[in-house]
Assembly symmetry: C2
Homo-oligomer: 341 residues x 2
């Protein structure tokens, strides 16, 4: 074994609102041989996630902050190319999932590397529908929003990695209708033609009050909220009595330096007996096995549409995050590295 | 039997914000003999409740509206003085609870009159701690907020009919601390000296952010919200992870014609994994038996302090509602009629 050259992203400055070119830098480094208990992984796919933006802030509310001058990291999959002494259960050539991405070559504690089953799905699927975003959708819909068969379900950010799974799990579990909001006509077509949504609209086409009145003439039982802001404000009055809102994401506010306002329709929650519940997927990891079993079955049966938006090369990772925050993706946003082709 | 003279309140105009003298009128009427299935009740105590104000609006969000020109009504207790043909289970001389108050003499469907057990508590207690406000506190704390032994509980409007019971049920069920906000130094003393709250403060003494930081150095697991507005806004950042907020009342906004703003701290709900849940007591009437059993035991054992703020005469009812909305009461606000002395 010997050190391996790699490129990785370093955080230089805290972004002020939107991401600027100088906030990060792509550095060339040498990754040493793995120490005891470590493995070295040549990454094939890097995950691009909205919470990475939050981690660039000094004091994000629910994720750890990246220190200035240190690497930006997120999930990745890759192939183990070197194994340190004392490692058991991880072998050279294994495809593994780990949290040391945004780089070409990662040194990973073997205990934090999960060997992947790629017999049913390719490795990058474990970053998407079978990964954290998929689990977020699954527990957010079933456990946090308490979805029940026959519910009418509204999903915002519906063509994203989380939203597209949330809406389809609702469909597969017996929703009476699944309504999605997305950001382009093409995404809307995908929701209707491929993901099996009952109805969908481009949120640019009209104010959210009007769109939701048209799309939900009888109201919604569940709202899976990925965007917060005016859409949440418009959704609350459309909720049925005893409706449930899973507060998952606030992508409409990411990159803003203003304190977000509370939804002006909040006071309706009392009379409607609404439940609004925030959650983080990390509290629900005990649901992973049930999630993987359900999802693998649905994927194998061709019942769960999933798409990836792929960019190439570690040097494209930062721009991919910008794109994600601007809604450029349908489904999971991924970076493909040469060995992942 | 023969008709009985009575005075009752008629709604003449929709209040614009605060209650005006001309919005209601005290009318003299003759109440006829009870028809088949009816009883005539000479009321002894009238309940004064915050939701009566909402019912004066044209389109309240969660209670029925009083039509213009018709009587204002709320709960009352009284003595049956005449029984119509075909009535079973209600007899002359019975003390009953019914919903046709804000008058001296009521004609009530016998099916809607509940014969009261006054062996442990006097009749008016069934309008207060054993009545709708008490049940609201009980289910709001235990079922809606999911109170658990050891929780730190914050209650606003803590000296009111609902808040004072919510805080004490928390204490009796094993809260590790119960913190109350109220509106006068005298109420604060009552919370500390009689109701057994761990800590309490007059909300006029400092901005809510400062008060709650002082009162809840370790945060709160449950917030029983009777007031909404700036107090809710300040409570959200003080909630512990997985905290639960029961959205019970919004007395800070009653009488305002402005659309209430959403809490500016709402966005913290995601990271803190908060649950915010609106409720109406009418959905929880199946808990009445458990509630009455618990409360009767606590009252008999002297473990549950309860106070009433009493005004005299049907003519004082409207002013009593004004007083309630301004925080003039400690515990349940009641009107005593001559036969209730």
């Amino acid at each position: 074994m010997s050190a391996a050259g790699s490129r990785q992203w370093t955080l230089l400055a805290r972004p002020q609102g939107h991401l600027r070119d100088g906030d990060v830098r792509l550095d060339e480094v040498q990754v040493p041989d793995p120490g005891p208990g470590e493995v070295r992984v040549r990454n094939t796919w890097l995950s691009v996630d909205p919470w990475t933006r939050s981690q660039m802030d000094e004091a994000p509310t629910y994720v750890p902050s990246f220190p200035l001058g240190s690497p930006v990291e997120a999930e990745a999959v890759g192939v183990v190319e070197a194994v340190g002494v004392g490692v058991e259960g991880v072998h050279e050539g294994d495809e593994v999932l780990h949290g040391k991405g945004w780089r070409e070559v990662s040194l990973v504690d073997a205990a934090d590397a999960r060997v992947l089953d790629t017999s049913v799905v390719p490795a990058q699927t474990w970053l998407g529908v079978l990964g954290t975003t998929g689990l977020t959708a699954y527990v957010g819909l079933l456990d946090v929003a308490g979805f029940r068969e026959g519910d009418v379900v509204l999903v915002s950010g519906a063509a994203g990695a989380v939203g597209s799974v949330a809406g389809q799990v609702a469909r597969l579990r017996g929703a009476s209708a699944v309504v999605g909001l997305a950001g382009t006509p093409e995404k809307v077509r995908w929701l209707l033609d491929d993901a099996g949504f009952t109805a969908a609209a481009d949120y640019h086409d009209a104010p959210p009050e009007q769109l939701l009145t048209d799309l939900l003439p009888g109201g919604a039982d569940v709202y899976f909220d990925n965007v917060a802001g005016p859409t949440l404000e418009a959704a609350i009055p459309r909720m049925r009595t005893h409706g449930r809102i899973a507060l998952c994401g606030a992508i409409s506010g990411y990159g803003s330096t203003d304190e977000p306002a509370g939804p002006s329709t909040f006071h309706l929650a009392r009379g409607k007996r609404l439940t609004m519940r925030g959650f983080l997927v990390g509290d629900h990891l005990d649901r992973t096995d049930a999630f993987v079993a359900d999802m693998t079955r649905w994927i194998a049966a061709g019942e769960l549409a999933h798409r990836e938006t792929v960019v190439d090369g570690v040097e494209a990772t930062y721009e991919a995050l910008r794109g994600l925050l601007a809604g450029a993706n349908t489904g999971k946003m991924l970076v493909r590295l040469p060995s992942g082709a």
